[in-house]
């Protein structure tokens, strides 16, 4: 991609756009939230958020998973309604009941997930639902022309005639942004825009965000990556467990400051102390694991008493690797447990052999949300409750009471459905469910996704306790802080292979990020291979 050539042309474009768009002065308040709160039943997910979003400012919202960031965004962009409080747009109080009303008021959300129709072309997607017409007939030519212009503005030179299916993931995101920029919006909200991007693509996106700012638009930027926030943000608002901790000038916070504000305590206190590194016995040895399309020839060893982390970008093949190993996906691998070779063809065989896998998607793949707690707990270990002809429900209830005690699952009643528990308690139930099968190797995929800080700390303690009992634990996580804080050693995957290993003092975000995005030998990302 020879950006050097086209850059000047774009800058000229931008100049023209800038001159066109000087109606709003920098610093004017575009949107103000007043005591914005959201409750679902008795659960408060967001309370009393009051922030100002100004023109020509990049306002970052940071917080842990479950802190309420996405709820706040969806409130501002009209996807959900506040329980208490409201929005003031251009000095007028407003209520949005649909995203369309928010868009009419100049507020647009660029979704984290790519929401495009894959079977349509880029231009058709850009104008989906608001096609240009001439004499009542769809005006394809005009739409293609405008699509090209808008994409070029973003520094993206894909053809508007391409099917979205054939467009690379990073470019699809630009299509989505272009779609958001088709109208004259005042406030653009980005939800984790860089989560699926690699080095160069991230740079391109940050550049776009800065251009929007230069156009005196307001930008609300939600990201996990604190380095980006530090580079971009004029203001940073920190959320924790649905509450607003404060709004700070962007330049005044170091990344460490931000992390500690998000967590609400010193980071070191969140994670249990690591046990001393010493020579450990190999427990799970995987050689040449291959999952067609995802994982290519991966070998590693997890040791007794060790928490082994797996880092990598979304799509690096971490989940697929382990789903392949435990028989949930077609693939092959040579697996040894405590020196004995295993032939695992199904999840059942993995469980029986002593390998437990806890899915990252607890709602869709982990728990039966419409079912009571006890049947959920015992589903992987029914044999233990079925000594003769039938299941002993009393034993199941006893197991549930034990699990509730042991893993501190907070429930009003033992007769709830799993779906009625909070995310943290669901996760603890899922952990209890896997541990009921008495595995010697526990693989946990995203152990704390979407749960609050108190539950996180507890889960970390449970994991540390498990390895203390002589198990091996493998933790897959997209949160680098979590891996660094929890694990004894981290393997970093990239494009279906293990790209490197870090341990001890080398476990830093920058080392991991480098291994996750750049080829190990050259140290330089080249994304030429994507098609």
């Amino acid at each position: 991609m020879n950006q050097a050539h086209t850059a000047t042309a774009h800058d000229l474009d931008m100049e023209r756009t800038l001159q066109r768009d000087d109606s709003v002065k920098a610093g004017t308040c575009l949107v103000r939230t007043e005591n914005l709160s959201k409750q679902y039943g008795s659960v408060t997910v967001l309370s009393n958020i009051s922030i100002d979003i100004n023109a020509g400012e990049i306002h970052a919202i940071i917080g842990e998973n479950g802190a309420g960031k996405s709820t706040l965004m969806r409130l501002i962009s009209g996807y959900i309604n506040p329980s208490v409080g409201g929005l003031v747009v251009d000095g007028q109080p407003v209520t949005f009941t649909t995203p369309h009303q928010a868009q009419d008021a100049g507020i647009v959300l660029v979704h984290q997930e790519i929401l495009l129709a894959e079977g349509l072309t880029v231009a058709e997607n850009l104008f989906l639902g608001r096609e240009l017409t001439r004499n009542g007939i769809v005006d394809d030519r005009a739409m293609r022309r405008i699509a090209s212009e808008k994409l070029a503005e973003l520094g993206c030179n894909i053809s508007p005639n391409m099917l979205v299916r054939d467009v690379a993931l990073a470019d699809r995101q630009l299509v989505q942004i272009a779609r958001a920029l088709l109208d004259d919006y005042k406030l653009v909200i980005f939800d984790e825009p860089t989560a699926v991007l690699t080095g160069d693509e991230v740079e391109r996106l940050l550049d776009i965000v800065l251009r929007l700012k230069a156009r005196n638009m307001g930008v609300l930027y939600i990201s996990h990556r604190l380095d980006e926030v530090q580079r971009l943000a004029d203001k940073v608002t920190v959320l924790r467990d649905g509450k607003m901790i404060g709004t700070y000038p962007g330049r005044s916070l170091s990344q460490m400051d931000m992390a500690e504000l998000m967590v609400g305590r010193e980071l070191s206190a969140l994670y249990p102390p690591k046990t001393e590194a010493r020579a450990r016995d190999a427990m799970l040895r995987v050689t040449s694991a291959t999952v067609p399309g995802y994982v290519d020839d991966v070998s590693f060893t997890a040791h007794k008493g060790e928490i082994l982390g797996f880092a990598g970008m979304i799509g690096a093949g971490r989940t697929e690797l382990f789903e392949g190993i435990v028989g949930l996906r077609p693939g092959h691998a040579t697996v040894e447990l405590n020196g004995a070779p295993l032939n695992i063809r199904s999840q059942r065989e993995a469980i029986d052999a002593g390998i437990g896998y806890l899915t990252e998607d607890r709602k869709a793949k982990g728990l039966l949300l419409q079912e009571r707690l006890a049947p959920n707990l015992t589903l992987s270990a029914l044999g233990r409750f079925n000594p003769g002809l039938y299941l002993r429900k009393r034993r199941e209830s006893a197991a549930l009471e034990d699990a509730v005690d042991q893993y501190d699952i907070r429930v009003r009643s033992l007769r709830l459905n799993a779906g009625q528990l909070s995310g943290g308690n669901q996760q603890k139930l899922l952990l209890a469910k896997i541990l009921l099968t008495n595995p010697s190797v526990v693989i946990i995929d995203e152990p704390t996704r979407g749960i609050d800080i108190a539950n996180k700390a507890q889960i970390y303690t449970f994991i540390r306790k498990l390895v203390g009992e002589g198990k091996a634990c493998i933790v897959i996580s997209s949160e680098m802080q979590e891996l660094i804080g929890l694990c004894d050693r981290i393997l970093v995957m990239r494009q279906g292979r293990i790209n490197g290993e870090v341990f001890g003092e080398q476990m830093t975000e920058s080392n991991i990020a480098l291994l996750a995005t750049a080829e190990a030998d050259s140290g330089r990302a080249s994304e030429g291979g994507r098609a």
């Binding site: 008795s42 467990d241 949930l328 199904s346 999840q347 059942r348 993995a350 469980i351 029986d352 896998y357 899915t359 998607d361 869709a364 793949k365 982990g366 728990l367 039966l368 949300l369 419409q370 079912e371 049947p375 589903l379 992987s380 029914l382 044999g383 079925n386 002809l389 039938y390 299941l391 209830s397 009471e401 509730v404 005690d405 501190d408 907070r410 429930v411 009003r412 009643s413 033992l414 007769r415 909070s422 469910k433 099968t437 609050d452 108190a454």
Partner: protein, 330 residues
């Protein structure tokens, strides 16, 4: 957040809670009986009721099997033609054996019927699970196959049971124990065994899990292939039991035996409270559903409000209403 609930040990709670959704089919049944009595007092006469419930026995027995299939996330459209096919095989086998075995050919024929039912169910199950074909399409295919086979076997006419067996076989449909017709006792027994299997055994738990969320079941180490295939086998066995009871009623198998039973069976399951997309199955609700269908037909015959030619239309309306109730009672 943390003050809302206490980690204190929770006492044992009573294992009973009234649930309108579970009670629905029985309340509907009760309401129907009251309406029936108001329309025509003869409706509640023991003779009429026992006739109606006896007639509903075939659908009830097959629908109990269908509760397993639907609970596990499948569907079986082939039950009606399967019933006809098994009836044909059974009668042909009994007739063939009658000269040598005498009345012993009847229990032997029943055994053949069960084997044939299990085999038919296994075929359906394997096409759906191993072949990974949509249950709707797979059983639509076997529905045609079974129907064609009975037509071929009967040469488009009827396969009557041998005269020498007729008297001996009669009681299976027309007989009573303590005044209760045998088909009612058989269907109650089938439902009792089925509810033990579905609610008290490992298999029942796996079945409901596979239907409620296939992924969760798979990630919990449950074999979807085995679980669903067994459900189809249970369905096949239930169809065979229904066929065994059906033979003495008409004494013959014809190409029109069991036509549209699959619709009545699915209706019974759905108005019984089992969700068509799978999950928890309601065996006794299904039985109530089968009785409701037959009661409505009977009521229409006994009353003069609606032509009895419209029975199928009324049943169609009922299945739609039942689905709407399931949809909106969430």
């Amino acid at each position: 957040m943390s003050v809302v609930s206490q980690p204190a040990r929770l006492g044992r709670e009573r294992d009973f809670s009234f649930n309108w959704a579970d009670a629905g089919p029985f309340l509907a049944l009760l309401a129907l009986l009251v309406i029936g009595f108001l329309v025509n007092p003869d409706f509640l006469s023991p003779t009429n009721l026992s006739n109606v419930i006896t007639r509903s026995a075939f659908i009830a027995i097959i629908a109990v099997g269908a509760t397993f299939v639907i609970s596990s996330g499948g569907l079986d459209l082939s039950v009606g033609s399967m019933a006809a096919f098994i009836t044909g095989i059974t009668i042909m086998f009994m007739n063939m054996m009658a000269p040598s075995m005498g009345t012993w050919s009847i229990p032997a024929g029943m055994g053949i019927a069960l084997l044939a039912g299990i085999a038919c169910g296994l075929v359906n199950g394997i096409i759906v699970t191993v072949g990974k074909i949509e249950p709707f399409i797979a059983t639509l295919g076997t529905m045609g196959i079974f129907r064609a086979l009975i037509t071929y076997m009967s040469d488009g006419g009827t396969i009557p049971i041998d005269r020498s067996l007729r008297e001996a076989y009669r009681p299976v449909y027309f007989g009573t124990v303590a005044g209760i017709p045998l088909p009612i006792i058989i269907s109650l027994a089938v439902a009792a065994i089925a509810s033990f299997v579905l609610y008290k055994t490992k298999y029942g738990r796996k079945c409901a899990a596979a239907g409620a969320n296939e992924d969760v079941a798979r990630y919990s180490g449950i074999s979807i292939v085995r679980t669903r295939t067994i459900a189809y086998v249970i369905q096949g066995a239930c169809v065979a039991i229904a066929a065994i009871c059906y033979v003495p009623r008409l004494g013959a198998a014809t190409p029109t035996t069991g036509v549209l039973w699959e619709l009545q069976v699915i209706t019974a399951v759905v108005i019984g409270g089992t969700a068509l997309r799978g999950g928890k199955g309601h065996i006794w609700g299904t039985v109530a559903g089968a009785v409701i269908l037959e009661l409505i037909a009977n009521l229409m015959v006994l009353s003069d409000f609606v032509s009895e030619y419209l029975v199928a239309a009324v049943q169609g309306v009922i299945i739609i209403i039942a689905m709407l109730i399931q949809r909106f009672s969430k």
